[in-house]
């Protein structure tokens, strides 16, 4: 039998390691407690039981809103917001105050009007290349309902074409809707972009 064959007969089997706490990284960094962010987050709210037609009307409202964006019907889009309505995209999901923290978008209706005026101006240079978007809204969960207000959470996927490049955005919408008869007005729309902290040359020049 050759040396090599002899050596290959010397087998070692690692059984359950009772000494685990004293070996490897555990001996040096013994803290195994979970990270704060994972234990402190509340579970997402489940859908409250509502009449099917309300669920359907809310969904149709959200679908209509995204369709207006993709069709570049911005005046009609702004009209979906209440007179003191707010569109807010914070930089991180931990932020809670739209006026007090860095935001990607933080706009009342007048600022939205400026944005529409700017994008439709013939010399909005960054908008000269061909561009368009396609939104898909789903996972619509009505989190709470009162006689006057509805809170609804949903997810979106959005593909953008600009010049010769497509980009992909995704995230969560949180709408606080005022009930106006059978219709709704947006009091606050919060948009948490999944890739909000990724470096972009810029996010869209129009609302997401």
């Amino acid at each position: 039998m050759s040396d090599l064959e002899q050596r290959l007969l010397e087998d070692v089997v690692i059984f359950e390691n009772k000494e685990a706490n004293r070996t490897g990284a555990q001996s040096i960094a013994p803290d195994h407690s979970p990270r704060q962010t994972h234990k402190s987050k509340p579970l997402p709210a489940r859908s409250v039981v509502v009449a099917a037609d309300l669920q359907q009307r809310v969904e149709q409202f959200l679908f209509h809103q995204s369709e207006l964006l993709d069709e570049k019907q911005w005046a009609a889009y702004i009209e979906l917001f209440a007179a003191d309505g707010v569109y807010w995209m914070p930089v991180t999901s931990e932020q809670t105050e739209w006026l007090d923290s860095p935001s990607i978008f933080a706009e009342d209706r007048r600022m939205m009007e400026i944005r529409m005026g700017r994008v439709t101006h013939p010399n909005a240079w960054s908008q000269a290349p061909q561009w368009g978007t396609s939104h898909l809204v789903g996972n619509v969960v009505i989190e709470s309902v009162t006689d006057t207000e509805i809170s609804v959470r949903s997810r979106f996927q959005m593909m953008e074409l600009r010049r010769d490049t497509t980009r992909h955005f995704a995230g969560t919408y949180r709408h606080k809707l005022q009930r106006v008869g059978h219709d709704f007005k947006i009091e606050v729309q919060r948009v948490d972009l999944l890739n909000g902290q990724a470096p972009f040359d810029y996010v869209l020049q129009i609302w997401v």
């Binding site: 490897g24 990284a25 001996s27 040096i28 960094a29 803290d31 995209m89 930089v91 991180t92 932020q95 006026l99 007090d100 923290s101 860095p102 935001s103 990607i104 978008f105 933080a106 007048r110 009007e113 400026i114 944005r115 529409m116 005026g117 700017r118 994008v119 101006h121 013939p122 010399n123 909005a124 240079w125 960054s126 000269a128 902290q197 990724a198 470096p199 972009f200 040359d201 810029y202 996010v203 869209l204 020049q205």
Partner: protein, 429 residues
């Protein structure tokens, strides 16, 4: 690569300084990896073990607060097999850095703490007492009014010498607080430009471009501003931030630039940031109480729009924001845009500055988006064979030079670019 004197002439530069990989590599070695580079603000690292990763040229580093309270800047590299020790942009590492590969550990000052199976190193050159077993530190770290800088070479000017008169950037920002200090807002905007870093630096003090590049936003904002005024309402100050971009050529020509040695410079103020409203009055009164009327008026009266620290920093001190460039390639540059809170001022004064930060520099900005489009197209133009030179002739010979500082007699003078390239040539020798 053409010889330096052929690349940079007093009134024009060769296009390759924006596009050439060899020139870019030399910039990283001769400028970024030698000069003082901004790392962050002391208030970013509050507790022991708080860290933020920083890119200096091609070098990945970690800025970390030690148990002794000191901030150090270390290479983000395990001396064992080279793996980066911090995998996130910021966080807290506790009392040690632990390598994810073979569990080497390091104190927060970079000294090696534990080597697993250390008996295996007996008799080799890589024993615990060899300094090569510790994390390498930046050659020099210093701070000015809370702003931390590092230099990767032991020789060269001190931080204060490097900053020169441009240190007014940090004085002006801090002096505007009744407590003389600022605190960082710990979330930054990150923007990638598909162009050379020089486009950004030149654009910052280019007073001719706003009314061209930003006219769509300036005009749209002015329209809504006037509508409110006609309705008898007072439009918020931040509408003015946007509408002034559409000022006329003549108006922009009256805004002076000050161009210091080493390529630093100032664009003087033009937005009139002292409106007559109760929030401002309360703030001015607090400043008078804290600094005395004479000093406070001196601080509040400084005419600064922003200060450039060449070749990578733009500090907008009156609105407490800072933009720092991290070049990636000849045609790719990352900017990080940070906002600071003046200590001891009301929420209204903080919000007013924050509006500027969001409106002008967020990734959805209606302003910077058009700059980025210009620079992308600029990069493509310079990569082409359509011409060899970039022109900086406007008002050539028409500026005033005193003690090494050039004052433009026309706001739109290309003195800015001429001054930056004079500094660039010195660095690249």
């Amino acid at each position: 690569m053409l010889p330096l004197e052929k690349l940079v002439e007093p009134d024009r530069v060769h296009k390759s300084v924006y596009t050439d990989q060899a020139i870019f590599d030399r910039e990283m070695a001769n400028i970024w990896e030698k000069a003082w580079v901004y790392c962050g603000h002391e208030s970013q690292l509050k507790k022991t073990g708080d860290y933020a990763t920083v890119q200096i040229g091609r070098q990945p580093l970690i800025m970390v607060r030690g148990g002794d309270g000191r901030i150090r800047v270390l290479y983000n590299r395990c001396p064992h097999r080279g793996v980066q020790l911090c995998g996130n942009r910021q966080g807290n590492t506790g009392s040690t850095f632990v390598c994810s590969y073979h569990a080497w550990t390091f104190h927060l000052d970079g000294r090696v703490k534990g080597i697993p199976l250390s008996h295996g190193y007996a008799g080799t050159r890589m024993t615990h007492d060899n300094p090569d077993c510790s994390m390498k530190a930046a050659a020099r770290v210093d701070s000015y009014r809370g702003f931390v800088f590092a230099s990767l070479t032991a020789e060269g000017p001190s931080l204060v010498e490097f900053l020169g008169d441009a240190k007014i950037a940090f004085d002006d920002m801090c002096d505007r607080s009744p407590e003389g200090e600022v605190e960082i807002v710990p979330v930054c905007h990150r923007v990638v430009q598909h162009s050379n870093w020089k486009f950004f630096m030149e654009n910052q003090l280019d007073a001719l471009h706003p009314s061209v590049t930003h006219q769509s936003t300036g005009i749209a904002a002015g329209r809504v501003e006037r509508k409110l005024q006609q309705a008898g309402q007072k439009p918020p100050l931040y509408y003015h931030y946007l509408s002034t971009f559409a000022s006329s050529f003549d108006q922009w020509d009256s805004v002076q630039t000050v161009n210091f040695p080493r390529g630093h410079g100032i664009l003087k103020g033009y937005m009139g940031l002292r409106p007559e409203d109760p929030d401002t009055q309360e703030y001015v009164a607090a400043m008078h109480r804290a600094h005395g009327e004479k000093k406070a008026e001196e601080y509040l009266g400084r005419s600064i729009h922003h200060v450039l620290i060449y070749p990578y920093l733009s500090v907008q001190s009156p609105l407490q924001q800072l933009r720092v460039l991290r070049p990636i390639a000849p045609n790719q540059t990352l900017s990080e845009i940070w906002h600071f809170r003046l200590k001891g001022v009301s929420q209204a004064i903080y919000r007013r500055a924050l509006w500027y930060f969001n409106l002008v520099n967020s990734p959805a900005t209606m302003i910077n988006a058009d700059d980025l489009e210009n620079w992308t197209k600029g990069q493509w133009g310079l990569e082409s064979d359509g011409g060899e030179w970039v022109s900086f002739h406007r008002n050539y010979g028409g500026d005033t030079c005193e003690n090494g500082t050039t004052y433009s007699n026309n706001g739109t003078s290309e003195a800015v670019m001429r001054s930056q390239f004079a500094a660039w040539r010195e660095y690249m020798k």
